[in-house]
Symmetry: C2
Subunit: 242 residues, 2 copies
DNA sequence: TCAAAGCAAGTGTGATCACATATCAAAAAT
DNA sequence: ATTTTTGATATGTGATCACACTTGCTTTGA
């Protein structure tokens, strides 16, 4: 009986081959729409149609409608009584509501992460910070998309360390809801704003490295508050003009 | 021109007729599954099939698969790599994780509600409390479903007063995730447990009536912690036996 | 000239079909 | 007797169709 030999051969094969994964079309559509939403590629109040998205993503309507349904339950999109779906419009109340929730939950997450991040994770986020500096150094073209992605990686690398399978999906939902809002703030941000962001991020990392949960939380609150307060004042003045 | 007369006639009709509403089949399926999950009608680790649910709910597969997808994104259900879906199993870590998140978010919600609930809302929750007492008074049959519904109404009547369109869906998601867990605790609860629940609820109401956010939060934490710690010790001992 | 009716294109929803994969028990091979 | 193979059934996924409703423009009527 060559059972042992076969077993050994299978193990060798398993070591060489990476799992191919079986992502469905629906999952890819969902991920793509998430990416677009968080990146602020859709404008607030923009309406989305199933067939339109299906054409744009080169699939049929079926995966799109299922992805839209999922995004609607996450409040990342909004179902109108007309049965059409749009990205939620910005209001003053919504901005304050979102910021409060983000401070509450992301603050808790980073506070938990402070006592759980090892040198390994600290090094990773420091690497992301360095990568960011490099991009800002050669500032010929405004690679906003790259910065958004990097910012997202930075934050979620920290949140992932909090070890909560419940909090992280909630934070993802909050980012999904905030995405269309803060994009307009990002575009309007001057060089000064980005310098601030980098400083807050560095403060967060050093606080995390020393296990100072309170300092990390405060730096995070300052970081995520800034685009919201900026957007708030902008909306406020726009409202007064009318 | 009888335009004014027509207008008046239309208003009369509008006053007599109630909006008929256009709830889709998918929405009804979703609501029904939510109710079942929060009520703990499904057991942890139970697998659900699209066609099975479609038969049980007397519809086709289409609305069911969409409802399942939405519940999966809310983490109320879990998609296995086999592409089958089940209600998430209970683990010690998950219990602690859920309780921490619920204390954080529902605590914030009730704290906000404390300064926003008027006499009108206070009266409503007091009415729910009285209704509960009546049910407990004629305790011939264990109407657990009714108590679960009443408990849910009580809490969400308060949460709704917090005025946050962001926090409330998150709390709903947390209840969806907790439902299958706490059902086993509810069944095991003795009469003593229910008396405690009623006491905590009364404490909450009087704290809310006097606008004492801190006291309301503490009573809430005690209320929602109890089934979790009960379940925790039960799971702990079951684990030690093996 | 302007409001109301009518028409046509577009859109979401649900049903059904086809296909690939998963599951499990019976049969075959060792 | 145990393991492997095989075959039948069940299940999720995506495509397509039919239907109802919405929307915006054109046409009709006052």
């Amino acid at each position: 009986m060559q059972k042992a030999a076969i077993e050994r051969n299978n193990e060798v094969i398993a070591a060489q081959l990476a799992p191919v994964g079986r992502e469905t079309v629906q999952d890819r559509v969902y991920s793509e729409l998430r990416r677009a939403l968080i990146g602020g590629l859709f404008e607030p109040s923009q309406v989305l149609t199933i067939r339109g998205l299906a054409d744009a993503l080169v699939t049929s309507t079926m995966p799109v409608r299922e992805a839209l349904g999922r995004l609607i339950t996450e409040k990342a999109l909004e179902a109108l009584p007309n049965r059409s779906v749009r990205v939620p419009p910005i209001t003053l109340e919504r901005i304050d509501d979102l910021l409060r929730a983000r401070i509450l939950i992301e603050g808790e997450a980073i506070s938990l992460a402070a006592s759980r991040m090892g040198p390994r994770q600290i090094a990773t986020v420091e690497g992301l910070l360095r990568e960011w500096d490099e991009i800002r150094a050669l500032k010929h073209k405004k690679d906003v998309d790259r910065e958004v992605t990097l910012n997202q990686s930075f934050h979620f690398e920290i949140y992932r360390a909090c070890g909560s399978a419940v909090l992280i999906p909630m934070i993802e939902s909050l980012w999904l809801q905030s995405g269309p809002c803060i994009r307009v703030a990002i575009y309007a941000f001057s060089e000064a704003g980005e310098v601030d962001t980098a400083r807050y991020h560095r403060t967060m990392v050093s606080a995390l490295a020393s296990g100072d949960a309170q300092a990390a939380r405060e730096a995070l609150v300052a970081d995520i508050s800034r685009p919201f307060t900026f957007l708030r004042s902008k909306l406020q003045s726009a409202k007064e003009q009318t």
